[in-house]
Symmetry: C2
Subunit: 494 residues, 2 copies
């Protein structure tokens, strides 16, 4: 199949290649802003980034696209080209469905709300935050309604679809309903089991030595430093582009353990990016499949591999030589699998984390449907935290409903990706072990690379060439099956 | 004068503001490429930057511009708005005169030639470089001819005008002819005078300690770190945008003196950028006036201020505390004013530097007119080096005509800016001293800030609101007068 046999498709390929070039620059601007840019550069950068976003939006909504996509569909295409065309159509629809005045209004409100939130959060100022959030939520609901109408689904389904194409409220209610039926009890059991365990003193470590350690760990995970780098930012992320992945973390000199696992987590994201199919770079089919699948790769690295005894045994000598740590891998395993219900999602352990997501899923659903008013959010939060984790959060907005940036920037529908990712990760591990045998044994015998190789073959190198369900079927023999996650938690923690 | 009274002008302001946003991203991409980007990211970045350049070019050649500029000119404008319109017209003409096929062909040839040059230069491979340079030169000449016809000037004048608007071959022949009449003899006299001077041992210094020192020196020069940063690149430059100036240098652990003066030099460029008029940010009138004036500011910092005894006395304690240097400011002054004819332009001292420019000016003129063939360049080089600096360069292409990147990327007409800059700098100092008194005394009495303040008032804050001649007249009472440079060299070196 060549360009001549389907010139319309070729036109689209060129157009989306252009878009990806501008998105490359957008990723660079974001990374630089978080890692390098001096404060005073923010205003001009913000204006430049807004101009760039406008330009990218205009390319994604180019008037010729609708017809060219239809025409390309009527001429011969390979299966992979068809997959690419499907992704092009999806991107086009996503960009076109929301009127640009609403995009602009929401972007402005989000900018204002986030800016104020940074200060209001540290002041525990719910009364100040509330009107901003109300304003932003009403715009987010307007967006959800428009998307819902265009896709003929419910408003919250339309939001879920932005991050996890095909995911529905109904599926999530089933998946999360099941989770809710056994997780709180499991947490109680794990806590009972762990309550007699000793605690360990964690040695202090300079940011420089932690960064050196981080690079060693990234090397162990076979991160390609010819196509990426590690830097510092106040909120760790994995940015950049597939050919140049920009990973960031932060270092707590009093406790290296969280920064270290943060690097392992982000390296999981990075490996997915670096492993995306070379032949499809710059095309929609060459992108990561979904946000939940992205999270599945970071959580595979962090939760399945990183917190397991074999990996911790592997890195123990580096901790000793680079940080002067005397922690054994048994002690490290103990530290990294300690379960403690807490207020903050991003600090949560593997077992309690899903409770934070269950709460947010219920809240978002109710906010979008109108059953829950923004004003009633703190009360809703308190009662859920009490019932899910047994924690009283009354009056603590800062560490309660104001803790995440997501709502403060008007992003709804993203949270479920975290727990879906954890479930996908457990399912991948199960399928991998059916093929390759016990993963802990593989790592113990120096074969971490075959673990990475399996992920590369089954997931990374597939880009978006398969639907999520098809990717899951081809890699694990079944679509999403949350039982593997339950089995994993019980196996590791009970 | 408001937007309503001249809507066409307002349209142009918005359009050029857009262009500046994309140029902001272009500057960021360049800086990142030189300082941060891993090698493997180069290909995708190159493609993204080419796409961005194409987009910027399309904005600068937008079909509506010609008419809108004419229409704006017919309605009321303030003097400053008129100056801005003049710069807009200039940018439009510069971008439109060369057909885009030629721009593309030259960009490709330049990319190829530069890439090969990096290797060929280190191998002293003139025979390999020659055909690439011939090809690129013929495209550069084609560009020069097209510009010449459009501007009704000679081809080399058209190239000069790109960097120093209004500068002509005739003026340069007069200025440089005069220089040539006294400089070689001066060099001889200075060498005779310096031949009995002692030499000093320069202590080794780690890159980290040199970077710490560099930041201290930048603070002394009042560099605004809220609007800029210092990093490392193999070729020092001053990039970024006015609100976020990205300065780079390199460190030689065996000799800190060149890296240090490199930072002072680039800080001079940076101060100009940081001092550009805030009200005109993003508009053509808010940009630096010309390349020679830019160089005048870096050379003012480096040559007039940086290598003078008062400044060296000021920084002596920092060298001692941060590098453990025991060099006195007298010894530093001696080191920083040592005159030694050498092969390499960028390593040349203040006195011999113009000889390197004289040679390149003659060569470029002859290459563009066709009087000199690329094949005859090495011979031309040798004979000029012999007569100007008494150095034999036969067969040493690497340190001869292959040493600079400029021709390897097809850039002709830039070199004179360096020496024009040195001349402007000496003229500024003279005018400043007429107003404020002896600069060395000012620095000695802790008033470096009044020196900087003068430059800010007279030059930086003017952006491109005045023509070069008018800027010179308002700041120094006369247009370019090379006598001040001669006086400066004689005063400092004889
Ligand atoms: Zn993640
Ligand atoms: Zn310079």
């Amino acid at each position: 199949m060549n360009a001549k046999s389907n010139p319309h498709y070729q036109t689209l390929v060129n157009h989306f290649q252009s878009i990806s070039h501008f998105e490359h620059l957008s990723a660079l601007g974001d990374w630089d802003q978080a890692t390098m840019m001096p404060m005073g550069g923010g205003e001009a950068r913000g204006a430049a980034m807004a101009e760039l976003a406008k330009h990218i939006h205009s390319l994604k909504t180019a008037p010729m696209l609708a017809q060219t996509i239809s025409e390309a569909d009527e001429l011969p295409l390979t299966e992979q080209q068809k997959a690419n065309l499907t992704e092009m159509r999806y991107q086009y629809l996503q960009a076109n469905v929301v009127p640009s005045e609403l995009v602009v209004a929401k972007t402005k409100a989000a900018y204002h709300c986030e800016h104020a939130w940074r200060e209001q959060r540290s002041n525990n100022d719910w009364q100040g935050f509330k009107p901003n959030l109300e304003n932003l939520m009403s715009l987010a609901k307007e967006e959800a309604n428009i998307r819902a109408e265009a896709q003929n689904v419910s408003p919250y389904d339309a939001l879920l679809d932005k991050f996890e194409p095909g995911m529905t409220t109904a599926s999530l209610e089933q998946i999360f309903g099941n989770l809710k039926s056994w997780l709180p009890q499991l947490i109680q059991q794990v806590q009972d089991k762990q309550k007699s365990e000793a605690s360990f003193t964690i040695p202090t470590a300079s940011a420089e030595s932690q960064a050196r350690l981080g690079r060693e760990i990234m090397n162990i995970l076979d991160f390609d430093f010819n196509h990426g780098r590690l830097d510092i930012s106040s909120h760790p992320f994995c940015g950049g582009v597939a050919s140049d992945v920009r990973l960031t973390t932060r270092y707590d000199e009093g406790d290296f353990t969280s920064g270290l696992m943060g690097i392992v987590h982000e390296t999981g994201h990075a490996k997915y990016e670096q492993g995306l199919p070379l032949a499809w770079r710059g095309q929609p089919a060459g992108l990561a499949r979904s946000m939940a699948l992205h999270e599945s790769q970071s959580l595979f690295c962090e939760m399945q591999v990183g917190r397991g005894p074999a990996f911790l045994k592997l890195i123990e000598p580096y901790l000793s030589s680079l940080l002067g740590s005397q922690l054994t891998h048994d002690q490290l395993t103990n530290i990294y699998t300690r379960v403690t219900p807490g207020l903050i999602r991003v600090d949560a352990d593997e077992v309690t984390y899903p409770c934070h997501i269950l709460l947010r899923f219920e809240a978002e659903k109710a906010l979008v449907s109108g059953e829950l008013a923004v004003a009633d959010l703190p009360e809703f939060w308190s009662s859920q935290m009490q019932s899910l984790l047994g924690i009283n959060t009354d009056g603590d907005y800062k560490n309660g409903c104001m803790q995440d940036i997501h709502w403060a920037v008007g992003e709804l529908g993203y949270f479920p990706s975290y727990t879906l990712g954890a479930m996908y990760a457990a399912q991948f591990r199960n399928a991998m072990e059916c093929e390759l045998g016990c993963m802990e044994s593989l790592i113990n015998s120096g074969k971490l690379s075959s673990v990475m190789g399996w992920l590369n073959d089954k997931i990374w190198s597939q880009g978006s060439l398969l639907s999520i369900d098809e990717l899951m079927r081809q890699s694990t023999g079944e679509t999403l099956n949350p039982e593997h996650f339950k089995k994993h938690l019980i196996g590791r923690y009970l």
